[in-house]
């Protein structure tokens, strides 16, 4: 299971890159992240404060092992702007994957 946290502005590009390497499904979540990237100051009626959590998109993709590297590479290349805040890719092991509609398991279920 690949989890990537990327910038909103790269989302469309990443989506296309993923489809090109044959990804057939993914799930996305609106998140707010914080890291090296500095936040920004917000001003509300005299109160000024630091916002450190910036909006990001989390993409989760279940892939078969043989596609893993290609997918990671696709994300890396398409999400990169070279500026701080480009985000992270995390890979975790998935025990099982089931397609609810058919009950298929494993690779067919992806």
């Amino acid at each position: 299971m690949i989890t990537a946290i990327i910038k909103h502005t790269r989302f469309e590009v990443v989506r296309r890159a993923l489809m090109e390497v044959g990804v057939l499904g993914m799930t996305t979540t609106e998140v707010r992240g914080f890291g090296r990237q500095k936040g920004f100051k917000e001003i509300y009626r005299g109160a000024e404060y630091e916002v450190r959590f910036l909006p990001k998109v989390k993409i989760e993709i279940a892939v078969s092992d043989d596609k893993l590297d290609a997918v990671i590479r696709a994300i890396e290349e398409s999400a990169r702007t070279g500026e701080i805040g480009d985000g992270k890719i995390f890979v975790t092991d998935m025990g099982e994957c089931i397609r609810i509609r058919t009950g298929e398991r494993g690779e067919e279920a992806l």
Binding site: E42, I43, Y44, R45, G46, E48
Partner: protein
């Protein structure tokens, strides 16, 4: 004689002022955290009901009814007895008396709703209902009588308040300060960020308030003609110059102009011109608006220094604005534009300035102290503030059993 044009204007103005309270609901509602949006809307919305009923039962009579020693109206007009469809020449000779009554009702409604900004996000709703009822009866109605009632002592002394700088804004502003001090800070205030949950809602609210304010100020002419036109123009002039001033100062001071600031500035300008709208010219109004923007900007930015949590700045905008505007009447007023007014200091009549100062000072002190006492009493009887757990969870689910959004 009833004049159709005047009646049309006054009824329309009454509708506009009525709309201001839902407008205020939005203005305030957008500023709080999501978990308190309904509780905040409820403050304004329920005030319409509570105060209107009080007004028709006793409030109108206390404020405008036959005078008792300059202090209060008697109960001859309670339950709207003797308030009918013929004009009351003492107040508004060209419209039905009931039209004047309902127009004034809308003022009585919005005033306590303004205060609710001070204790937003932490007041018990039961305490709020009691507070609004008592405050209307013991603060708003008497002060309205003093300043506007035939026989009222401040009116008699020559205090000028065209549309409620004293009666509406100074009373609510100073009561807000008392409330903020008495009820204490929101949990986490000044320590963690509490950004407005929905600024577009606040901006809509400001737009609606601005729109309604034309009824508030220009309607206070109680007729459709030169005076209403003057008040309309000065209202807009002060609103725009305060908005521009706020944007400019914030840009210079913070490096960025905010729309929340612009909206706040507009309300500051509107509140400040209120007492002066029918007594000064458009050029003075532009200056008054500039002052309004600067003063209220300063007040809001100093709040953290003083450390009281006037959550939505009811004091910083309405208190400061109402006082500033009332004093400005004493500076800028001119008989040339309104013979029922006076000349101010800048036309050589320093006396009017002192009268204004005295008038607003008395009402400010009275409102502040009376509110403190009221809050103390309610606190002892019913408790004022929700529990910490409820404050954490938010008023919406805990007090009202609803959630604002299922988006």
């Amino acid at each position: 004689m009833i004049n159709n044009g005047d009646t049309a204007w006054l009824l329309m103005s009454a509708a506009l002022v009525m709309l201001m309270t839902p407008g205020l609901a939005l203005f305030y509602g957008g500023m709080v955290r999501r978990k308190n949006v309904l509780g905040t809307l409820m403050h304004s919305f329920s005030a319409i009901a509570i105060v209107s009923i009080q007004w028709m039962l006793v409030g109108y009579s206390l404020a405008f009814g036959p005078d008792v020693k300059g202090i209060i109206g008697n109960l001859d007009w309670a339950l709207l007895r003797n308030v009918g469809l013929l004009p009351n020449p003492a107040y508004a000779p060209t419209v039905p008396h009931l039209a004047f009554m309902i127009y004034q009702a809308m003022f009585a409604v919005i005033t306590p709703a303004l205060i609710s900004g001070a204790f937003a996000e932490r007041m018990k709703f039961s305490a709020y209902v009691i507070f609004v009822l008592l405050w209307s009866t013991l603060v708003y109605d008497p002060v309205a009588h003093w300043v506007w009632g035939v026989g009222g002592w401040l009116r008699y002394l020559g205090v000028l308040d065209f549309a409620g700088g004293i009666v509406v804004h100074a009373t609510s502003g100073l009561s807000a300060l008392a409330a903020a001090l008495y009820i204490g800070k929101r949990k986490g205030a000044f320590k963690e960020p509490m950004p407005p949950h929905n600024l577009p809602m606040t901006v809509i609210g400001a737009g609606i308030l601005w729109f309604g304010w034309f009824g508030f100020n220009a309607g206070s002419a109680l007729s459709a003609g030169q005076l209403s036109t003057l008040a309309f123009v000065t209202t807009h002039a002060a609103a725009v110059s305060a908005t521009a001033t706020w944007i400019l100062i914030e840009w210079l001071h913070r490096g960025r102009p905010t729309v929340f600031g612009a909206a706040t500035g507009s309300i500051a300008g509107l509140a400040t011109i209120t007492p002066a709208a029918g007594f000064v010219g458009p050029d003075s109004a532009l200056i008054i608006g500039t002052l309004a923007g600067a003063m209220c900007y300063a007040a809001l930015n100093l709040k953290p220094v003083f450390g009281y949590d006037d959550s939505l700045d009811a004091f910083g905008v309405h208190g400061i604005g109402g006082i500033t505007g009332t004093l400005c009447v004493g500076l800028f007023a001119t008989l040339a534009l309104n013979p029922a007014g006076a000349n101010g200091l800048f036309l050589g009549n320093a006396r009017q300035f002192y009268i204004q100062l005295g008038g607003v000072a008395v009402v400010a002190v009275y409102s502040f102290l009376a509110s403190l006492v009221l809050l103390k009493v309610i606190d002892m009887i019913a408790g004022l503030r929700v529990s910490e757990k409820i404050e954490d969870a938010g008023l919406d689910i805990s007090v009202h059993g609803e959630e604002g959004y299922y988006l």
